[in-house]
């Protein structure tokens, strides 16, 4: 059952992957100027050796019809060949994977922290609906959604690094080198990511919890004589967590944009920082690579969420 569902979902991904890659392929064509020079990052009249130029021209297959160019490029991409970075002079995928490690810490840490804030927060707001607690938490949600991330990050730097001096303002230390220093460096960027995601998740958690509280099974559980604590925090929360789980999964695309900003503010060397740096150095192979990488990440996470959903909720039987 699960195998068949998984296979079906993967097959369904084929048109999605086609669309996504076509978008990326054609977006790269909107650049004004000679595409070979652009892909080589040599835009402002820089000199490029004949050899390099011809190699790139061949790679792009510019003498071929567009559809052939695309298919050729797609087959390279699907085999993990995202091209060779101009600035790093090595495989773009390698560059990206290397930078993915700090980003993964930030994403996973941020998501976990967000859930830790949002789930109890959402439940409290729902249980104490329309009271001071609810207003306070809803206020947090509205602020979390309204305050631009980069500004929140700067204010955090101002308070915790500049005024209080508790944490470093920018940078990164690898955890295997000095774990405490790693934690100090990741604390601020991770908190900014977490607060941002938590606002959205809290809003869903509250809403869903409110709706669950009116379901028949809650009345049955209460009628059975279960205490309110058990009913709410065990029965209702367990059902409501399914939604939380989906919402967190759906945040993946947003999260990619979020880390790009956060990494830029904190000079945190992940793939978002790499993306911005590559835009600055006009290393379009890497720009293209990072965008593709992020989209594939989104697609894969959503696929996993879908599959896990069927595992967690036996009621769901997709046809």
């Amino acid at each position: 059952m699960l195998m068949r569902y998984t296979t079906m979902r993967i097959v369904q991904l084929i048109p999605l992957i086609l669309v996504v890659t076509i978008v990326v392929f054609f977006v790269m064509m909107i650049v004004p100027g000679d595409p070979v020079m652009v892909m080589l990052g040599a835009v402002d009249g820089a000199q490029v050796s004949r050899e390099v130029y011809d190699a790139m021209r061949l790679r792009l297959g510019l003498d071929q019809p567009l559809i052939v160019q695309y298919l050729h490029w797609l087959s390279n991409v699907l085999q993990g060949d995202l091209g060779t970075s101009i600035t790093y002079r090595t495989s773009a995928l390698e560059v990206i994977l290397l930078r993915m490690v700090p980003t993964a810490y930030l994403m996973v840490g941020g998501l976990i922290l967000a859930v830790i804030i949002a789930v109890p927060g959402g439940v409290l707001a729902a249980i104490h609906n329309k009271t001071k607690w609810d207003h306070l938490l809803t206020g947090f949600v509205v602020l979390g959604i309204s305050v631009p991330t980069f500004w929140l990050a700067l204010v955090a730097v101002l308070i915790f690094a500049v005024y209080l001096g508790w944490l470093p303002a920018i940078g990164y230390t690898r955890p295997q080198e000095d774990f405490l220093d790693f934690l100090k460096h990741i604390a601020l960027p991770m908190s900014v990511v977490a607060l941002n995601i938590a606002a959205t998740v809290l809003r869903f958690q509250r809403q869903d919890f409110l709706e669950q509280m009116n379901q028949d099974y809650v009345r049955t559980a209460r009628a059975k004589g279960l205490t309110e604590t058990v009913v709410l925090w065990k029965h209702v929360l367990r059902n409501s967590l399914m939604t939380t789980f989906t919402v967190v999964g759906l945040q993946m695309a947003y999260l990619s944009g979020l880390i790009t900003i956060v990494e830029s503010v904190f000079n945190y060397p992940g793939i978002g920082y790499l993306l911005l740096n590559s835009i600055r150095t006009r290393d379009f192979i890497v720009v293209q690579g990072v965008v593709l990488f992020m989209v594939f990440l989104v697609i894969i996470v959503n696929l996993l969420v879908d599959i896990l959903y069927t595992v967690l909720d036996p009621r769901i039987r997709y046809s």
Binding site: L143, I145, V147, F150, W151, L154, L158, N214, A253, I261
Partner: protein, 305 residues
């Protein structure tokens, strides 16, 4: 409102469709909502300020005045001065013009591109609809900020490039909204009647179907305005937005971050302006949404992405 019980699995379905009378009453109800009133007041202020522009300020927008460099807020300079002595308030007022100009353009563009695709897909159905749906799903898989970033980086920063870059990821939202509206209304009796009367499909779309889906579109618009303003400021902050002579709040904050310790007001006030405008749109959108189908409430939070 909270009493409606909705199955968790249906949370992400397209919004239910309202009749025109309900659409109107939504605005009437929302007008009693404090958030709606605060939001509308803030928005009117924002639009008014950006329309009259920085001409109301006694200070020159761009001319440096080195005698008053990096001054903290005072009675002469309410929000302080920057590193070459320009008045911060004057520049924030000028910045409102850029954010409004970019946001309006981006939202209109998303609507112009998305609405016909959704309407045609819903109306024609079949292969065309399936194709449009797949393309829309593909676009939705992209992180919108990252896509906008790449588009602007490639095309170079210009007002039109920003409109397109920001609009691009909103197109599917409008296409889907209008498609679902067309699909649910298409089979209704009043549409049949209109068709029997010999009205053209376009006329039916504008006169019959569109008025019925105005409420969810209005909510979507408020969210998209907020998103467009956020993305414009973020791009400018990252150094990819409009350059001089345009003044963007994002650029102001970017320039200010080197002086965070010396002159925090340079970063704080443009950020407050930005947050205030986004808050206003969020308030108005939330108030409208709360008067509609409770299931729609959930879809709001998916903006930004």
């Amino acid at each position: 409102m909270e009493a409606h019980s909705t199955n968790a699995a249906t949370v992400f379905e397209p919004p239910a469709v309202q009749s025109p009378r309900i659409s109107r009453s939504i605005v009437a109800f929302a007008a009693r909502d404090r958030r709606f009133i605060v939001g509308v007041i803030l928005l009117v202020l924002y639009i008014f300020i950006s329309l009259i522009g920085s001409s109301i300020s006694p200070y020159d927008l761009n001319a440096p005045n080195l005698d008053v460099r990096m001054q903290a807020p005072s009675s002469a300079h309410w929000l302080g001065t920057d590193r070459i002595g320009r008045d911060v308030l004057t520049r924030i007022i000028a910045g409102s013009q850029v954010s409004l100009q970019v946001a309006v353009g981006a939202v209109v563009m998303a609507l112009i591109l998305g609405a016909p695709l959704g309407a045609l897909g819903g109306y024609i159905g079949g292969t065309f609809d399936a194709l449009v749906q797949r393309v829309m799903e593909g676009i939705m898989a992209f992180p919108s900020l990252v896509l906008a970033l790449a588009l602007v980086a490639l095309a170079g920063p210009s007002v039109v490039a920003l409109w397109f870059a920001i609009a691009f990821s909103s197109v599917p939202r409008y296409a889907r909204l209008i498609r679902s509206g067309v699909l649910t209304q298409k089979e209704r009796e009043y549409v049949d009647a209109a068709r029997a009367m010999g009205q053209s499909p376009l006329r039916i779309l504008f006169r019959q179907i569109l008025p019925n889906i105005m409420a969810p579109i209005a909510v979507q618009l408020t969210q998209d305005f907020a998103r467009a303003i956020t993305v414009e400021a973020s791009l400018s902050y990252l150094g990819l937005g409009l350059s001089v002579p345009y003044i963007s709040w994002g650029t102001m904050i970017r320039d200010a971050q080197d002086f965070l310790e010396l002159a925090p007001w340079l970063a704080i006030f443009p950020g407050l302006a930005l947050a205030g405008v986004i808050l206003a749109f969020t308030f108005v959108g939330d108030a409208l949404r709360d008067q509609m189908d409770p299931r729609l409430r959930a879809s709001l939070t998916r903006r930004l992405a």
